[in-house]
Amino acid sequence: MSEPEKGMHQIDARRLLCPLPVIRTQNAVRKLQKGDELLVIATDPGVMQDIPAWCRVHGHQVVSAEKYELEFHIRVLVGE
């Protein structure tokens, strides 16, 4: 199971439905710097498509995307 590492930023998007997890991710990334990492925890299975799509559009990278029981954990590496 993904656990936030020291220096890792995290947002809890559980119970939120699309596109709220993406909005939370977008707003969090706006405050981060290139090279920062963000862990998104969500329960909407749509995040497995939406957050990678958002990352591709905006030049960020999905480091990992995993399912743990009813949760989805996605690690985003902030780009430019």
């Binding site: 699309c18 993406v22 299975p45 749509g46 939406d50 559009v57 009813l70």
Partner: protein, 368 residues
């Protein structure tokens, strides 16, 4: 005194200004095409999408286990990626309440305030444009575009409403509708030559054929379902549930969780003072689990069955009846007796054995 012109002053050539447009990108075919039409003329475009809380966008597919294999993409994001443009997604769900509750131009066939909604969204988008222009932002925008087509929608996309939207939103002639621009007065970007009016379109009416033909011409192999059906407020069943909720509460107000819950489950109202939200399958049950601490809830223990949330002010007799209803929707529906657990909001639970309600005991008007 004669005016002297120095022949030594070099002529400075000025690079043409790169014009940028902000597009309202719903994820539908029309906004996809509107952006591409403008991109073809060398305009740089960025997208904006607004989340109101009532967006359809595959929610039920995302929740339901039976729809697990169905594609769950956010169409606005897909459109942005297909077009190669950035997309800002803004959560306006809180401020949007005033649009839903007090629409100046009224509702459509259901609780859809489409004209007020369009005005509101164009106004919000225009705020982006104006903010960027005020700061002389190099990445600012010169005008707005939408995929509106005259005659496409009965409430907001009519010849008479197009100028109302432009005026009341504050966008005025900075609002360009590429797909039907030739049926409207020329806008600022056209008059200034930022876009060539002759390369815009004159689509109108409900037919989707012109848009589909244009999509194929642009080489789009895929697109979202045709315009319309993107908002739960246009749905008769959803609007009925929303109106029922307001009536039961005695006031027109809502929170985000309220409008999310209206999208899920079977809603049954046996009495004015309480309602059941019954999960219809595993995915919905899993999703409703997230709310179990905020409601009284019922689980059928003796048979496979739904998680049932109880919304309102049920007394003990109501909860026994609710357990019988939950039994009706379980695999023990035909049994003489089911065992259920009633869990109050505070966590106190009791187990009961009841006869599941039979079909002829459930009046149709209980179903919201």
């Amino acid at each position: 005194m004669p005016v002297l012109f120095s022949s030594c002053v070099p002529f400075m050539s000025v690079a043409p200004i790169k014009r940028r447009a902000l597009a309202l990108l719903s994820g539908g075919l029309d906004s996809l095409l509107a952006v591409r039409v403008v991109q073809e003329q060398g305009i740089e475009v960025e997208g904006i999408n607004f989340y109101t809380g009532f967006c359809v966008e595959g929610h039920t597919h995302a929740i339901r286990k039976q729809d697990e294999s169905k594609q769950k993409r956010n169409n606005a994001l897909w459109s942005a990626e297909t077009l190669g443009i950035r997309l800002n997604i803004e959560d306006i769900s809180e401020e949007y309440k005033d649009v839903v509750l007090n629409p100046k131009h009224g509702y459509g066939a259901n609780l859809n305030p489409c004209l007020d909604c369009k005005i509101y969204m164009v106004n919000k988008a225009m705020a982006f444009v104006n903010r960027a222009r005020a700061f002389a932002d190099a990445n600012g925008f010169d005008f707005l575009i939408t995929g509106e087509v005259i005659g496409q929608r009965p409430k907001s996309q009519r010849a008479i409403t197009m100028p109302i939207i432009a005026r009341e939103s504050g966008a005025d002639d900075r609002l360009l509708r590429p797909l039907c621009a030739k049926r409207l007065a020329p806008t600022l970007p056209e008059r200034e030559g930022w876009v060539d009016r002759e390369k815009l379109y004159a689509f109108h009416g409900r037919s989707r054929q012109p848009q589909i033909a244009l999509a194929r011409q642009f080489g789009f192999a895929d697109w979202a379902q045709p315009a319309g059906g993107c908002c739960f407020l246009t749905d008769e069943s959803y609007s009925r549930k929303l109106a029922d909720m307001w009536k039961a509460r005695g006031e027109r107000r809502y929170e985000l969780d309220d409008i999310m819950l209206l999208k899920v489950g079977r809603h049954v109202r046996p009495a004015p003072h309480y309602k059941l939200i019954v999960g219809r399958e595993e995915g919905e049950n899993n999703w409703l689990e997230g709310y179990r601490h905020e409601f009284d809830c019922i689980r059928v223990l003796s048979h496979n069955g739904p998680l049932t949330l109880v919304d309102g002010q049920p007394d003990e007799d109501d909860l026994l009846q609710a357990a019988r209803i939950a039994g009706r929707f379980s695999q023990g529906r035909d049994a003489e007796e089911i065992e259920a657990e009633i869990i109050r909001k505070g966590g106190v639970s009791t187990r009961v054995k009841v006869m599941p309600m039979r079909a002829n005991e459930m009046p149709k008007d209980w179903y919201v």
